[in-house]
Amino acid sequence: MNRNFYFIGIAFFGMINGIFNQLWLIFALLYVQILAGPLLFGSLSLTLMLASLMVSTATVILGGIPAAIYERVTGASESNNVSLWIWLAGTAILTLPAAGNFLKIGL
């Protein structure tokens, strides 16, 4: 499979979790307001967007850790199909809590 499809899938799952994971989104929103509120001109929309971005990226990062471990254990010099599958699956598993909201509401 083309590498770009893996990346699109990983980004898609990250986006879904960033938008629909109520628990993490609210948690991130509280902290983004405190840590970066003035940088975002106190705008709630911008704060919500950054909070969503933080949750999305954290999902992608955490989903990538098992893939990175696999690459280090096997001594791979570059990411291969297996590690990209692991990354995709890891991100998908982390997105499960948000799947219900996504299916109910949709994009």
Binding site: F7, Y31, I34, L35, T57, I61, A68, S83
Partner: protein, 106 residues
Amino acid sequence: MDFATSLAPYWYFHLPNFILAALMYTMLGRVLLGLMVDADSPNYIWRFFCRVTDPVIALIAIATPKAAPPVVVWLFGFVWLFWLRVALHYTLLLLNLAPRLGGAAS
């Protein structure tokens, strides 16, 4: 309460939080400057950003698949540091050791 007395009781939170924040924004600066300068640029601001953030990036690269290009690793670094700051505050909050949200002392 003046500035010094508000910082002093929670120095164990403010000091690491300040260091993490400085690293976080330097990382963001590196991403933005990376759009304009070459990776081996002699620009002193670029070299400063690289020197400060390279140790953090080396750690983050261990936990990131090799398919991620450098600029993505830098952005991941920004997010890692943000969540580290959150984790630091939340952990201290659970232990009733952190300043409360909004500045009121716990």
